[in-house]
Structure formats: structure tokens, C-alpha cells
């Protein structure tokens, strides 16, 4: 079922939680709402579910206006961060709840309910836990039961509020894959909220990046990472190395550091150069177009590449720089803490004061 949001506004007292939200979610899409805490993503999800009502704007399910429709009648599956399993009921009773409370005329027979619960338990691979109570389950098991419970009513829309937020890293990864395959198999429309960029980028067909109550950008994970529309998206998705300085002609300088651009940027004044870790190389001596002295601060060997954290030498930066090098490079160079080196950019994204869109620059 497709979901359309039109001009959604929501305030809590003086605090504007959402402003003018416009979003189109086609049928069968898995979409992630990503943003820092307080950006309004959970509020938006709750408005879609009907657990919260918008101050103004419209919500359409499959072209039909459901703005005034009660949660009960919206027929969405909702999964909570802390599972919200009923503690006094067994796993099977929890899953059967939605069917049990149907009006007598619509309610399936007891045998049929048992059958449905059995199938759902099989789907989440927890058939052996049917008679346990929630307190006896692990976090990952609880969340799978919560999912099974939400799916018992065969909803066309599944909404998940930070579904993996309370789980440890390994379980989270497993569940993420499992949810993706479940989504592909059953083909409902899913919206999930997360503050974990990795989760959003890995799981979603498209990601909605939100900040301070509005949508910053809606795009596929690839497009978001490669072509962010704004500083916020740039900062929020993945690490970014920043050189902040004043732009004079085609030269951006700050303290001992400077970069010379191949072409003259369209503007001048205060500017920031954003560089993704993979857009920077490290060398022991500076090159003609850039002088960015750095000092090795920490070395992280775990993973496909070696990640170096670097402190600026003779210039200022709010956060440490991060650059990845291959393990082969690491072994030939053998860097140690305190070693000096120079960063060489290949591609850069220049934000000039007064402009929200970046200008992407390439060096030979």
C-alpha cells in the first residue's frame, strides 16, 4: 500500500516537531527515516500510524485519506523499540492477541488462530518458545516475536520505531538482514526509524534524512552518500574531513594548511572544504595543489582497511581527520602515533558561506 504525506505540521507546545513534511512512499518500498534525536522522525512515524495526530496536513494510504482514521482502523503493524510485549502473556498469546480481540463475527476459530500463530512462529524461527513468557527471552528473540505479532493481522504497512536500537551489534546485523528478506518475501510497505546511518543505508531502498522537524533529503543510499544536498546530510552520513578557512581566488587557507583549486570557485569568503575519507590520500611530503600537515593520533587495524585518526598540525579543526589506507600500504609505511604526514585530496566538496549546495571539485 502506498503512503502519501501532504504538508504535515506538528507542534508540542512551543516546540515545532514537524514542519511541512511532504513524502511519497510507493507500494512495497522499504524506507528509512534517519536523523539525530529530536529531528521528528519518531513523531512522523507515529503520525503515519495514527498514534499521534498531525496539527495540519493529510495522510493518504493508497490514495485514500486516512488522516481522521483511528489507529485501530488504519490496520498498520507497529513495532516498538522496547518490544512492548505483554509480560503476562505467553509468546503464543502475544502473537494471537490481535486475532483474539477481533469482533466475534470476524474472529477466526480457535484452531485457525492456533494455526496462524504456529505459522508466524515458524516464520520468525522461534516455534520452540511458544509457551515461554517474554521475560524468559533474549532481546533479539523479543523483537522477532514483536514482529511476528505485528504481522499477525497481515498489515499492508509495517512501521518500526528504532527496531534494533536496544540490541547488541551482532544481533542487530542478523536481524537487519532477516527483516530485509522478510520484507522482500511478503511485500508490504515498511517505514522504519533509526539514528544509525549504517543501518539506514544498508537496509533501505530510500532514506529520508531529517533534521529539526523537516526533511533534508530523500534519496537512495548511493545518491545520499555520493551527492549530499546540504552540509547537514554531509555531516550526518559517514565521517567527513573538514578544512575551514577563507577562500581567496582559487586558494582556501587556514593557518599552515592550504588547498589550491584547479578552477576558480564561483564565490569567495568564508568557506569549508568537505572531504570523505576515501577521497583523501596520505603522503609523506606535500604536493603542489595541497599542503595539509597532519599527525597520526590513533590507528585502528580492525576491518577491511586500516583507519587512521589524524590531528591537524599548525591549523584548526573541530574534529579529527579520518583516512583509510589499505593493509598493504600500512605495512610498507608502518606509521606510528605522532608520525607526520600530508593529506592529498582527489575530490572535494566546497561549501561557501551563503550557499547551501556544495560545489564539487576534481583535481586531475
Amino acid at each position: 500500500m502506498s503512503i502519501t504525506l501532504e504538508q504535515i505540521d506538528k507542534s508540542f507546545g512551543a516546540f515545532k516537531a514537524l514542519q511541512g513534511i511532504e513524502l511519497d512512499i510507493p507500494d512495497g518500498e522499504l524506507i528509512g527515516l534517519l536523523g539525530p534525536s529530536g529531528s521528528g522522525k519518531t513523531t512522523l512515524l507515529r503520525i503515519i500510524a495514527g498514534l499521534e495526530s498531525a496539527d495540519s496536513g493529510r495522510i493518504l494510504f493508497h490514495g485514500e485519506d486516512v488522516t481522521r482514521r483511528h489507529v485501530r482502523e488504519r490496520r498498520v503493524g507497529f513495532v516498538f523499540q522496547h518490544y512492548a510485549l505483554f509480560r503476562h502473556m505467553t509468546v503464543a498469546q502475544n502473537i494471537a492477541f490481535g486475532l483474539d480481540v477481533l469482533p466475534r463475527k470476524q474472529r477466526p476459530s480457535a484452531a485457525e488462530i492456533r494455526q496462524r500463530v504456529g505459522n508466524l512462529l515458524e516464520m520468525v524461527q522461534l516455534s520452540h518458545l511458544a509457551d515461554r513468557f517474554p521475560a524468559q527471552l533474549s532481546g533479539g528473540q523479543k523483537q522477532r516475536i514483536a514482529l511476528a505479532r505485528a504481522l499477525a493481522m497481515q498489515p499492508q504497512v509495517l512501521l518500526l520505531d528504532e527496531p534494533f536500537g536496544a540490541l547488541d551489534a551482532r544481533v542487530r546485523k542478523d536481524l537487519r538482514r532477516w527483516l530485509r528478506s522478510l520484507h522482500d518475501e511478503l511485500n508490504f510497505t515498511s517505514v522504519f526509524v533509526t539514528h544509525d546511518q549504517e543501518e539506514a543505508l544498508e537496509l533501505s531502498d530510500r532514506v529520508v534524512v531529517m533534521s529539526a522537524g523537516h526533511i533534508e533529503q530523500v534519496d537512495t543510499p548511493e545518491a545520499l552518500y555520493a551527492k549530499p544536498d546540504s552540509r547537514f546530510v554531509f555531516d550526518f552520513l559517514g565521517h567527513v574531513n573538514v578544512l575551514q578557512g577563507s577562500l581567496v581566488g582559487n586558494r582556501l587557507a587556514s593557518g599552515d594548511a592550504w588547498v589550491q583549486f584547479p578552477e576558480e570557485p564561483a564565490a569567495a569568503g568564508e568557506a569549508q572544504l568537505y572531504l570523505r575519507p576515501h577521497e583523501v590520500r596520505l603522503q609523506l611530503s606535500p604536493v603542489g595543489h595541497a599542503h595539509l600537515p597532519l599527525q597520526v593520533e590513533a590507528i585502528n587495524l580492525i576491518g577491511a582497511e586500516v583507519r587512521l585518526e589524524l590531528r591537524p598540525c599548525g591549523w584548526q579543526c573541530d574534529t579529527l581527520w579520518e583516512v583509510g589506507i589499505t593493509h598493504a600500504e600500512y605495512h610498507s609505511w608502518q606509521p606510528r602515533r605522532g608520525d607526520r604526514c600530508f593529506a592529498v585530496p582527489d575530490v572535494g566538496h566546497l561549501f561557501v558561506a551563503g550557499h547551501t549546495q556544495p560545489q564539487t571539485l576534481y583535481w586531475g
Binding site: 490496520r75 490481535g98 521475560a135
Partner: protein
């Protein structure tokens, strides 16, 4: 980790068996002494006083016709009062936890008033209010209901003094109930009634039962508030506590203790039963 906690860095942690606060033996000793002095010793004294009687005498005293009538009155009145408190207390706790309104803090504080007020004062006030020329009594008289100096008066006095037990046991449990549970139930299509019956009530049930049981046992022993409003007619509106008092006034300490021991045993058995039942119920919620 074990190297650190057991190592030479922190002398306080040398013995991993030690608790945060030292002196378990001392604090346990003091606790036991206090329990003995304040609880066990008087109870023992009570039982010792009855020990002077033979079984036949004891049985005779506690099954005296007038005393048995007082048991019936007390049990009935306490039962109705605690059931009423179960409903009224649940409602009050609900309103105090789930709604914001001006004067909420004040009402919250007023709940404890029956605990703070001397029970005799409560009894006299209630008697004055419910007397035939009192504020409430006048109105009720028009409907043909007599409260003061009838068994109904006992119920009123008992429920007044024991209402806080229900509110104060249910309130914290209600506060801890995750709102998400209700939202989850509603999102699955449950009606308001179904949410209350199948989600809220089962979670509140143990606390409510404890509150009602406490209210009931308190009512069994209530004296001050009741005697002023009850009328104290033998066989009709005489409560067991009053029987104890009457025996004391007759300097029949043995008989007074014997009747008191019945109240004590009934209360203890009830509290124990509630505790056992609740422990079984809670084991489910928290896993074993």
C-alpha cells in the same frame, strides 16, 4: 578485569565478596533486634496471656455468641469496605497517574490524610456528618438510608481509614506501566475495554489485590474511627475490636487476648496467602 578489581590499586575492593556498605552483621543484628522488640515481643506477650487459659476456656471465649456476632459484622463490613476501596482506590490512582489537572499535587497529598488523622477524630467527624441532622445524613435520610449508628456506618468508617492502602499500592505500578503496551494493543485493533481487561488489569491485579488485602486487614482491626459511628449495639453493630476493649474494661485480660489472637491469626494468614499468590504471579512477569 579480575586482575583490576582484586589488584593492589583499590584496597576497598580487596575482598570481592564485600558489599557496597560494610557491616552486614551489625545492620542485620540491629534489624533483627528491632523486629523482635517491636513486632515479635508484643505478639508473644499476647499469646502468653492466653496461655493461662485451657483450650476449653479459650474456645469458649472466642466462640461466645456475642463475639461470633461481632466477627460476622467485622468481616462483612471490612469485606464491603475493602471492595469499595478496591474500586474507588483504583479510580483515584488512575486519575492521579494518567491525567494532569490543577490541584493534582494537593489531591495526591490529601490521599494520605486518613493515615495522618487520629482515627477517633475521623470517627467523630464521620458520625457528625452522617448523623440524621448532619450534612450527608440529611440528604441520605430523604432517600431512606441511615448510615450513622448502623452497620453501614462501620463500612463508611472502615473504608475512610483504609483507602490510602489501595491508592498507594496501585499508584507506583500504574506509573511503571509502559504506555507502549497500550499503544501496541490499540494498533492491533483492541477496543478500549479490551485494552483495560486484557492488558492493564492483569498488570495491576497483583498490586490491587495487595492493596485490597491490606485495606481489609486494617479494617479488621480498626477501632477508633468505627466505635463513634457504629452505634455499638450488641449482635448488630459491635465490631471485634470493641469486644476486646469491653473485655479489657472488665479486667478479663485473658479473654481480651484470646479474641485479639483470633484477629491476629486471621490477618496473618490472609497476608501470607496474598504474598504467596503474588510471588507466584510475579515470577511469570520477571522470568525465573
Amino acid at each position: 578485569m579480575s586482575e583490576l578489581s582484586g589488584g593492589r590499586w583499590s584496597p576497598l575492593r580487596r575482598n570481592p565478596g564485600k558489599r557496597v556498605l560494610p557491616g552486614f552483621a551489625l545492620s542485620m543484628g540491629i534489624s533483627l533486634l528491632f523486629i523482635s522488640l517491636i513486632l515479635l515481643l508484643p505478639v508473644t506477650g499476647l499469646l502468653v496471656q492466653t496461655a493461662g487459659m485451657s483450650w476449653e476456656q479459650y474456645w469458649g471465649v472466642i466462640t461466645d455468641e456475642r463475639v461470633v456476632a461481632s466477627y460476622k459484622v467485622t468481616l462483612w463490613a471490612a469485606g464491603i469496605a475493602s471492595l469499595f476501596n478496591g474500586i474507588a482506590g483504583l479510580l483515584l490512582a488512575w486519575v492521579l497517574v494518567r491525567y494532569e489537572f490543577p490541584g493534582k499535587r494537593l489531591i495526591d497529598a490529601l490521599i494520605d490524610l486518613p493515615f495522618a488523622l487520629p482515627t477517633a477524630v475521623a470517627g467523630i467527624t464521620l458520625a457528625a456528618l452522617f448523623a440524621e441532622n448532619g450534612w450527608y445524613g440529611q440528604l441520605l435520610a430523604e432517600l431512606g438510608i441511615k448510615v450513622a449508628f448502623t452497620p453501614l456506618g462501620i463500612v463508611v468508617a472502615m473504608s475512610f481509614t483504609s483507602l490510602p492502602f489501595v491508592v498507594r499500592t496501585v499508584q507506583p505500578v500504574l506509573e511503571d506501566l509502559p504506555v507502549e503496551d497500550e499503544e501496541a494493543a490499540i494498533s492491533m485493533g483492541a477496543s478500549d475495554l479490551a485494552v483495560f481487561r486484557r492488558i492493564l488489569f492483569p498488570s495491576l491485579w497483583p498490586a490491587l489485590m495487595t492493596g485490597v488485602a491490606l485495606s481489609f486487614t486494617r479494617s479488621l482491626g480498626e477501632f477508633g474511627a468505627v466505635i463513634f459511628i457504629a452505634g455499638n449495639m450488641p449482635y448488630v453493630s459491635e465490631i471485634t475490636s470493641l469486644m476486646i476493649f469491653i473485655r479489657l474494661q472488665e479486667f478479663d485480660y485473658g479473654a481480651a487476648s484470646a479474641i485479639a489472637s483470633v484477629v491476629l491469626i486471621a490477618s496473618l494468614v490472609l497476608l501470607l496467602a496474598i504474598n504467596l499468590w503474588q510471588a507466584r504471579y510475579l515470577r511469570r512477569l520477571h522470568g525465573r
